[in-house]
């Protein structure tokens, strides 16, 4: 994908999804690209299912279909670890990027890049959902089963979603991406409750493991532009990889980030180290034999996932926290993603001055049994 917006080689439209306005808009934007109308994702995938690399082939195809289940779901998090209280909006699944460590390779039954076109159903569901949550802080986002902005030039979902939550001050919509696709974002009013966030990594990790993603510098540049226009921005150092030289590489990125983006504009930074279900290892090895990501020392975590040894995770997070604090991010909220109580405590609670919860509304939704899970100075 690199810097160019993604375009599919073929578009498949579910027969029942033809009449939806979003289907029409997407097809207009993809004029000239072959379109087939079929009955199922299975049919759209059938001729590549047994190709040498079906996952990669599927990333060249766009599947337009209806979301038959709920669009909005609570983040499943991971068993036995601190929960985040986040809500996921599934407007698309699958991703044109091809990161070696991506869980979606194993997780999704349908590997096609999929956009759900029944926007009106989402609107109704969102109204109903948010009216039930009135008075409570809601953090929600679309970047769980796909990149929030990688398809935005085709779908315009960022604009749709902004319209759906507009005016509700208790709702924070996060659009999480590895791309620089911010054209639609810049059309929005930076109201404060739309947070655009970037998944960042070291330059080496991005080069070696995040195939098809724009460079880290491009991501930071996009974040800089968006934040300069008044949007709060977030950053997710996730997955952090532990490899010889990690410290220098990641310190440089944290430093670069704070050169480019004012800390006052940073809503939050999350940290998460590489973790994956054991079955993904075989997929990584088969699809990316050159990747070193899954060859590190891993233990089996309490959720059954492969994780770095706890002392490594604590070391990674402590260093990040130190760099963030010393780079001007003294007041920036930092949280850990899918981590254990023990690692939370060792990383944050035991660090001097990291106990005070940030006094803005969103951390309230991260509270668990009275203990705030977002720390800042």
């Amino acid at each position: 994908m690199t810097g160019m917006p993604w375009l599919p080689e073929k578009v498949f439209v579910e027969k029942e999804s033809q009449g939806y306005p979003l289907t029409g808009r997407i097809l207009d934007r993809l004029a000239g690209i072959p379109v087939s109308v079929v009955h199922s994702a299975e049919e759209a995938f059938s001729d590549i299912r047994y190709s040498r690399n079906p996952v990669r082939e599927a990333k060249k195809r766009l599947w337009l279909a209806r979301q038959r289940g709920s669009f909005i779901k609570p983040c499943p998090c991971t068993p036995e670890h601190v929960r985040c209280g986040y809500d996921i909006i599934n407007v698309n699944t699958g991703c044109p990027l091809d990161c070696t460590y991506c869980i979606l390779q194993d997780y999704l039954a349908n590997p096609l890049v999929t956009v759900f076109v029944n926007v009106e159903d989402l609107r109704l569901e969102m109204d109903s959902y948010l009216s039930r949550k009135e008075g409570r802080v809601v953090r929600m986002g679309t970047g769980e089963l796909g990149d929030s902005l990688a398809l935005d030039h085709l779908t315009g979902y960022s604009l749709e979603l902004a319209g759906m939550i507009g005016g509700r001050k208790n709702v924070y919509l996060e659009l999480k991406t590895k791309t620089a696709g911010i054209r639609n974002i810049r059309k929005l009013d930076p109201s404060g409750n739309i947070i655009v966030s970037w998944s960042l990594n070291s330059i080496r990790a991005a080069d070696e493991e995040e195939h098809g993603a724009p460079s880290v510098e491009d991501r930071i540049r996009a974040a800089s532009l968006v934040s300069a226009e008044g949007f709060p921005v977030g950053f997710h150092f996730d997955p952090i990889l532990h490899y010889p030289g990690w410290e220098e590489d990641y310190r440089a990125i944290v430093s670069r980030l704070f050169q480019a983006v004012s800390p006052r504009r940073i809503a939050w930074i999350s940290l998460g180290s590489l973790r994956f279900p054991p079955s993904l290892k075989k997929t990584i090895r088969s699809r990316f034999p050159q990747s070193k990501a899954s060859t590190a020392e891993f233990i089996k975590g309490r959720d059954g996932k492969c994780r770095y040894f706890s002392s490594v995770r604590i070391e990674l997070y402590r260093k990040f926290l130190e760099w963030i604090r010393s780079s001007g991010g003294g007041a920036v909220a930092v949280y850990l993603c899918m981590e254990s109580d023990f690692v939370w405590k060792e990383t944050l609670e035991k660090n001097k001055g990291e106990r005070k919860p940030r006094e803005i509304s969103f951390p309230l939704s991260l509270q668990r049994k009275g203990r705030a899970c977002v720390w800042s100075r």
Binding site: R285, T295, R302, F309, F342
Partner: protein
């Protein structure tokens, strides 16, 4: 299709196009044929005017070895090689468990006979108990192309698909070098060995042969005190510790600290799984209430010691 008694010397045994079985073990069959003759006819089809075997390679092989001729045969009038081979597959598949190498030959020959890959993956891999995936198809092809020594090891050690999958990730030269290490080990330990070797090799950007040629492994090979199994086992542990230095070190430290406590012999003390939670497992058996009280009292004393409390601290 006709039935006839076919003289062995009429069959062209050099033509192995339909052959599936490797016929490594046939003592039982030989005993049976010597006792009662060939019960089940072999199947042949004429190619170039000469009968070639479609199925029954083991039976025909035994007959050749003991000089029994003619043997009962079903003569097919099928011109299409693929259809003949499909018949051979089904005859074998329904009659016995196929080895992994045999499965790999089936897949390669189906492809050679012109069946397209999607059909093989969709229809035949599930039949063979292999995941219906393109990657699995490629792996079976790799097994079919492996060197004879590798195929023999896979056959003799009854390696499963998962182990062969790991093995064929290594280059053919590397595979040859792995034979002495893998042959003594059981299936699960073979997989662990291969998985750890791959990870260390990738992580350190070193060839597998380079790692296994390092002094610590060479010392094992040269040892006269160790059996092949002990050597392979020691190599597996070396690799495991190389792959997992922190976990290995934490376990060793824990074990040393536990030993230093001088626990009663009946007591077993295990660290938390992967050191991810707080729970030590402390257990002991007691045959009598007195034995229980004695061990519990000893543990009570030990639990007051600082070294015991330190065991509950996780590595940070």
């Amino acid at each position: 299709m006709t039935f006839e008694k076919l003289a062995l010397d009429r069959i062209d045994f050099r033509d192995e196009r339909f052959r599936i079985s490797l016929a490594m073990k046939r003592e039982k069959l030989e005993r049976s044929i010597r006792m009662i003759g060939v019960v089940q006819p072999v199947t042949v089809v004429a190619r170039g005017g000469t009968p070639v075997l479609v199925s029954g390679w083991k039976r025909a092989g035994v007959c050749r070895a003991i000089g029994l001729s003619p043997l009962p045969a079903l003569i097919l009038d099928e011109l299409d090689d693929l259809r003949c081979f499909q018949r051979a597959i089904h005859e074998n598949w329904t009659a016995r468990d196929l080895s992994l190498v045999e499965k790999s030959h089936i897949v390669r020959k189906l492809a050679d006979f012109g069946l397209d890959k999607p059909a093989i993956v969709r229809e035949y891999l599930p039949l063979l108990g292999i995941p219906a995936q393109s990657a699995a198809f490629e792996k079976l092809l790799a097994v079919s192309r492996a060197a004879p020594g590798i195929k023999t090891m896979i056959e003799v050690k009854d390696m499963d698909f998962a182990a062969a999958d790991l093995l064929t990730d290594f280059s053919p030269e590397e595979q040859e070098g792995l034979i002495p290490w893998l042959v003594p080990l059981g299936r699960n330990k073979q997989k662990e060995f291969l998985d750890d070797l791959w990870d260390v090799s990738r992580r350190e950007s070193r060839a597998a042969g380079d790692i296994l040629g390092s002094p610590e492994f060479l010392r094992l090979i040269a040892s006269e005190a160790l059996s092949p199994l002990q050597k392979a086992e020691a190599a597996r542990v070396l690799l495991r510790d190389k792959k997992n230095p922190r976990l290995s070190s934490a376990r060793k430290s824990f074990e040393a600290a536990a030993r230093a406590l001088g626990l009663p012999k009946a007591v077993r003390l295990e660290p938390p799984a992967s050191f991810e939670d707080e729970n030590l497992r402390i257990s002991f058996d007691a045959a009598t209430p007195e034995a229980f009280e004695k061990t519990a009292a000893a543990l009570g004393k030990i639990s007051a010691r600082a070294e015991f409390k330190d065991l509950f601290k996780r590595p940070v």
